[in-house]
Amino acid sequence: MNEPATQTGALGFFNRQGADPIARMLGLFLPLATILLMVLFATQSDAFLTLANLRGITLQSAATIVLAVPTALLLMSAGIDLSIGSTVAVAGVMAGIFWQQDLIWAGLAAGLAAGLVIGLVNGSLVSLAGLNPIVVTLGTLAIGRGIAQVFADNPIFDFPEPVVAFGAGSTLEIPNLVWVAIVVVVLGMIVLNRLPYGKHLIAVGVNERAAYLAGLRVKMIKLSLYVATGLGAAIAGIMLAARFNSAPGGTLGVGTELFVLTAVLLGGVPFTGGQGAIWRVVIGVLLLGILRNGMVLLNFSSESAQIVLGSVLIIAAALELVRQRLYRKQ
């Protein structure tokens, strides 16, 4: 590729954005905080810095990353999807029902179809009907959980061998689920940095009216992003069901939305949209994963872990606010 005239080069928008000092500071803050946290836990627990434990953290984070990437894109366009935790359950349960009948591919298709349908419902209500996304997806959060519980009336578990082997196995020393996450991250980066669609969704987040006047199909862009979070949640649900060899409709994915939104916010995507980078979101997920893992190792009760997680969300929001203030002062 030719080097263009100005210094910043053809790196893609978000690398370029890293050129502004505050974004760069935040870019450093995140890895630093992650390392600090790791050092802290390593000194407190011998079990933390073991290969098995670090592998466990990555494995646990894999499904979250699959959720976080489309959620980050949606947030960059100034949308929000609170229903993902329930979509995880609906997709896992739908896949599980077929898997119990030894129908592997049908299970996969049913899980994905569930995510697609929920995404289309959310997207149409928000983008075409113009309803408030928080209200709509809070509604589908409740509806989805209800549906998952209805279908999971009888326990859904004991899946076919290939499904279990995929969920628990590794390829080239890397867990299969982590491979899925890697693919999703790479896709997310390509979409955001290399395709017009990436610029378009940012434009929608920055100034929806300007995006519309520039001739962008704003409604289609928004709709497609809700479909993306629906599909991401479905894949995550399928991954979790395979890993646990069961699909408990009442608990699968509960609270995931809080975890994912915290990670995405920590990763520097403001709820007001218009900016963000995939790699930072991934670090945000890993940071939270490490935090959660360390709290388990240090025998935090699940209640106090919950309190810490909620506090981190608020702190992340506060950091973001400070960043915006500083940015505006520039």
């Binding site: 100005t6 940012i202 006047l213 199909r217």
Partner: protein, 255 residues
Amino acid sequence: MTTSPILEVRQVTKSFGAVDVLKGIDFEVIPGTVTALVGDNGAGKSTLIKGLAGIQPFDSGEVTFEGVKVNLNEPRDAADLGIEVVYQDLALCDNLDIVQNMFLGREVKRGIPLDEADMESRAGETLKSLSVRTVKSLRQKVSSLSGGQRQTVAIARAVLWNNKVVILDEPTAALGVAQTEQVLNLVRRLGEQGLGVVIISHNLQDVFEVADYIYVLYLGTMVVRLKREDTNPSEVVEYITGGKTNNAGSNGDLV
């Protein structure tokens, strides 16, 4: 000597509830010329433009582009034809840089991925062809630009994709003297490059500086179309304020 119009509007109307804002307007744009659209506040200038931009479709009437009847129901329709509108409040994306704003919705690709290098060099060439030398970096966010520079980016965006008609709604309203002069130069150059240019302005000095034709809209009716060299500011003011009406018909024809 006359070239045939690239954009022709016939008897368009637009009402908001009981209010008839456009009462059967005729309007045309000739390539290679600058046409000014003037009229008092609320005369319907922006409404006419919004109809042409596809934001607020007309209720009735006909628009032809290069001799073909067209439907303008969405901004995309106008963009596809090559009609570009620079809005009064400059619809730019603050958080995006100059290149991204200029190419928004019309990105250059190399196969499937974006071609950032090509977009950057074409943005640079376009700005240079418009003799714009005041921006430091093409990768500056537009939020860091002055009013005049923002206006420049919005206009350059209009030139970039071989647009055929460029419509500017009060491009100089928020600008200082020097910046106004720059933008007017830019407007003139667009005309010289063969585009059909429409400019809305309340400032008759600006209008007389750049326009070849002047249309006057009065309370939703096109009262007259004047050739700049055949008229003068005080006559235009009379038409604008309704002090003078055109007896030759609803649409003043050129003498």
